[in-house]
Subunit: 471 residues, 2 copies
C-alpha cells in the first residue's frame, strides 16, 4: 500500500531520512527511557513502572496513535497498548516490545551507573539498553515517523509493550486471552530477539522451548551416622548423583532413551544455515574458559541451536558447611531444565526423563518430581511473508541475504501469540547476545541503532505491499 502521493519506497526513504536526521534525539530518547529503573522484579507498586508507562504515553501524545490502554490480568505490571488502524486492506501488525528490565546494582561490577546511561566506544551503556528499550524505541519511532512524515503507516499497527518479560511473563497468557478481539492481527513483529552476531546479517526463525523438573530424593527418615550405618545403607547424595549422571553419556550427549524421538527431523536448510554460520569455536570457549561437551557427531553451533538439551541447574544435599561431618544424608535435591526443539512436547519430554530416572531407582528409595512452567519450541515457517519481507529488506541493506538462525534460548511470548491468536512472530530486534543483557555493563551498539532506523521503515513499507490474505 502506498501513502498519499508517494510510492512505498519513496515514503520509506523519507521516513528513514527523517529518523537518521533525528538520530541524536532518538538516542536521547533511549537514554531517557533507560534512566527509568523499571525493574519488574520489584513489586507492582514501584513508581518506576508507572514512570515507564507515562513515558510511552507521553511519547505518542499528539501522534495519530490512539486507543491507549493498560491491559492487565488483575495483578502484576500491565501491558501498554496503542493502535493506528488507518490502512484498511493492509495487513495488521502487532509490534511487540517490553518496558521492564532486569535488576541492576552499580556495585555488581558496573563501570557506570546502570540507570545513568553513558556512551562509550560507539555503544550506549545502561540497564535495558540492549534488552530491550533500544529496539523498542526504534520500533516506536519508526511508527511515529511514518505517521508524521508520510501522514500514515503502510500497515495497521497495534503496539503491545509488555511489563513482565523479565519475570517470565506471568500475566501474558491471561492478557492475550482476555483481549483476543483487540489484539487480532496478521502477524507479530518483535523488537525483542534480533541479531545472532554483531555486524553479520541474520534473522531468527525459531527458538527452543523449555521444561523443568525438580527432584527430591529420600533414602531414610533422617541423616545417619556414617560410622554406625555406613556401608550398608543407601546414601541420598550417591543416589542423586547416579540419577543426574545417568542423563548424559561421558561425552556430554543425552543418554535418556527416546528423548530425541519426537523431534521434527532437522531440515537440510537448517543444517545448511547452521554450517554457514560464522561460529568460531576456539574463540567461543576461550571467552568463558569453558570446556566443550555434547554429541561430537554434531557441531557445537548445531548442538546449541538445533538440538534439545538437559541441564542440571542446581544440586544440594547433606552437610555443606566448613570442615567434615560424617553423615549419611537422607535427602538430596536437584533442579533440571530442558531446552526443547520442534516436535517435542514439554510434558512428554518431562515424562521421558522421569521414566528414565525412576527406572534407575533402587527399591525403597523415594523420588518426588515437581515442575515449573513449560514453553514449546517456536518455529517460523520459512515461507512466512514477514520473513520473506525482512529477508528482502536486510539483503537490500547489507548486500547479502541474512542467515536464518534458530535461537538456543526460549521466547515464550511467540508461543502464546501462536496458540491464542494463531499468528506468527518475526523477531526483528537489533540487540545481539554479547551485549551483557541480564549482566553488569549491558550495552547497545550505536551501529545497531542506525541499522534499525534504516531497516524498520523499509520493512513496514514492504509488509504494507502485501495483502492481509497473504498471511
Amino acid at each position: 500500500m502506498t501513502v498519499r502521493n508517494m510510492t512505498a519506497s519513496e515514503a520509506a526513504a523519507r521516513v528513514a531520512n527523517d529518523l537518521a536526521a533525528r538520530r541524536d534525539e532518538i538516542l536521547e530518547c533511549i537514554a531517557a527511557f533507560v534512566r527509568i529503573p523499571s525493574i519488574s522484579a520489584i513489586s507492582p507498586t514501584s513508581p518506576a513502572m508507572h514512570q515507564a508507562l507515562d513515558f510511552l504515553r507521553d511519547r505518542i501524545a499528539g501522534s495519530d496513535l490512539g486507543n491507549v490502554q493498560l491491559l492487565s490480568a488483575g495483578s502484576g505490571h500491565p501491558t501498554f497498548y496503542a493502535d493506528w488502524l488507518g490502512a484498511p486492506g493492509a495487513p495488521t501488525i502487532m509490534i511487540y516490545g517490553h518496558y521492564d528490565v532486569q535488576p541492576a546494582h552499580r556495585d555488581d561490577g558496573w563501570l557506570s551507573d546502570p540507570f545513568m546511561p553513558e556512551i562509550r566506544d560507539d555503544r550506549i551503556y545502561g540497564r535495558g539498553t540492549s534488552d530491550v528499550k533500544g529496539s523498542t524505541i526504534i520500533a516506536f519511532e519508526t511508527v511515529l515517523a511514518w505517521l508524521r512524515v508520510a501522514d500514515g503507516c503502510p500497515v495497521n499497527v497495534k503496539l503491545f509493550i509488555e511489563g513482565e518479560e523479565e519475570i517470565g511473563s506471568p500475566s501474558l497468557p491471561t492478557i492475550v486471552q482476555q483481549n483476543r478481539g483487540l489484539l487480532a492481527a496478521d502477524a507479530v513483529l518483535s523488537a525483542d530477539g534480533g541479531r545472532a552476531l554483531p555486524g553479520f546479517p541474520s534473522l531468527y526463525v525459531g527458538a527452543r522451548g523449555l521444561a523443568s523438573l525438580e527432584l527430591t530424593l529420600t533414602t531414610a527418615s533422617s541423616d545417619l551416622h556414617s560410622g554406625r550405618f555406613g556401608g550398608a545403607t543407601r546414601n541420598a547424595i550417591a543416589e542423586m548423583a547416579r540419577l543426574v549422571s545417568s542423563l548424559h553419556h561421558a561425552d556430554g550427549s543425552i543418554a535418556v532413551a527416546g528423548f530425541e524421538d519426537d523431534m521434527t527431523p532437522i531440515s537440510p536448510d537448517d543444517i545448511k544455515q547452521a554450517t554457514a554460520f560464522p561460529f568460531d569455536a576456539a574463540e567461543h570457549y576461550a571467552g568463558f574458559h569453558g570446556v566443550e561437551g555434547g554429541d561430537p557427531a554434531r557441531t557445537p553451533w548445531e548442538r546449541m541451536t538445533l538440538y534439545p538439551t538437559i541441564e542440571p541447574n542446581g544440586i544440594w544435599g547433606g552437610y555443606t558447611g566448613l570442615g567434615v561431618k560424617t553423615v549419611i544424608p537422607a535427602m538430596a535435591h536437584a533442579k533440571l531444565t530442558m531446552r526443547l526443539v520442534a516436535g517435542q512436547d514439554p510434558a512428554r519430554a518431562r515424562a521421558r526423563v522421569e521414566t528414565h530416572l525412576r527406572a534407575l531407582l533402587p527399591e525403597g528409595v523415594r523420588l518426588e518430581v515437581s515442575h515449573g512452567g513449560d514453553a514449546r519450541a517456536f518455529s517460523l515457517r520459512l515461507d512466512h511473508p514477514l520473513l520473506l519481507a525482512a529477508e528482502e529488506v536486510v539483503t537490500l541493506r547489507r548486500g547479502r541475504p541474512p542467515l536464518r538462525v534458530r535461537s538456543g534460548g526460549t521466547v515464550p511470548f511467540t508461543q502464546i501469540f501462536q496458540e491464542v491468536l494463531g499468528i506468527d512472530t518475526l523477531m526483528f530486534g537489533l540487540a545481539t547476545g554479547d551485549e551483557n543483557a541480564h549482566a553488569p555493563n549491558e550495552f547497545f551498539r550505536l551501529e545497531a541503532l542506525d541499522e534499525g532506523l534504516a531497516t524498520w521503515p523499509a520493512l513496514l513499507a514492504k509488509v504494507g505491499q502485501l495483502s492481509a490474505e497473504a498471511f
Copy 2:
C-alpha cells in the same frame, strides 16, 4: 596382686558390694555431673568447663588419688589428670574418659531439660548421660571404692579425662606427646566406647579409621545461560554427579579400583563373630525407614563393621533457590569421607580415590581436592591381656562369653595412644549406640549402671593379677 589380707576376688566383691549399696548416691553423682553444661564447642572461657574440672577435683579430694594436673596444649580445654601408683609390680592402667559433651537445646525436641537430668523408665535422661559422663563416673567411683574399701587398687591408675572429645580432640596429640613420661602405662581402659547392643554381652576389638576429601570442580569462569550455551558446554553439576556416582556400583558397593587391596585380610574369627552378632536387618532398616545398599555378597553387619566405605556427605552447586533458573553452573562442590579398616593408610586411600576421579575428568575440567584430618583404623589384638581379662569378667557376670565386635565408627584417641605411647586401648564403657548420643533425649540405662558397678571392680582385680610384663 592382692590388697592387704583379702584375696583379689574377695576384695573385688567387697568393692562391688560397696558400689551397689551406694548406687543411688552414684546415680546422683552422675546427675550432678550432667547438670554442668560442659559443652566443648563453646569457647574455652566457658565457666561450665571449669565447673566440670572442679567437680572431678572435688570428687577425688580426700582420696588417695593425687598428682592432679590439668594438661593443656596451650589453648583449648585441658585434660584432667590424676594418678595412684601404689601397686608396684602391678600393671599401670590409664583410664580414659571425657568431661565434655555435645551441645543441646531444649527446643530441639527434648522432653526434659537436657541439663536437668530426669529418671524415666529405668533410664536417666540428659546430655552426656550416655556420652560419656555415666561411664566416666562408673570408672571414677570404682577406683575410689577400691582405694577406700580395699585400701588400695589392684593396678596403678592414671586417670585421663579429656575435655575436647566432642570437638575432634584437637589438643590430644600434643598433650599426649608432651606428657609421654607422665602418661606411660601398660594399657588404656576406656570408659568411652562400650556395648554394641543393650542387654547383649559384647566387647569392641576395633574401630574403623577415617579420611576425608573435599572436591571443587570448575567448568567455566562463570555460570552460563543455558539457552545460549546449552548443549555444547560441560556443566559443573553434571560432571560432579558423574564423579560422585562413579564411586559406587548400582548396588552401592565401592567401584574405586584397588580401594580394598590394602585391607588386612578379614580373619575367620571376625567373620564368625560378625555372623554370631544378633543383627536383625529388617528391624534395623525399619528403624530409620532406610534402604539397604552395599555389596550383597557381604551381610549388612559385616559391611558396617569389617569393610571400608566411601560416603558423599554433602553436595552443592548452581541455583538452589525457589523456582527455575536456566543456568549452566560453572562450579560444583562435594564432601566425601571414607571409613577405613586395618591395613588401609588414610593418605593412600585418599590418593586412590583422587586418582580414580581424575581419570574420569574430561580434558579442561578443573578439579581441586583438599582434605581434613585422618585417623587409621584401630584393632586390639585378640590375645591382648586386657581383652582376655575383660572377657573372663563378662563371661562370669553374664554366663556366656561376650561377642567380639568391631565398631563401624572411628575412635581417634585409641590411635593416638597407640602411636605416641605404644599402648592399646580396651573400650569398657557401658553406653550403647541407641541412646541418642549427639541427639535430643540422650539417655543412659540404669541397667548399664548396675552392670558397670559390678564389672569394673572385677576387671581391675583381674588385671591386677597380671604382671606388667604380660602387656
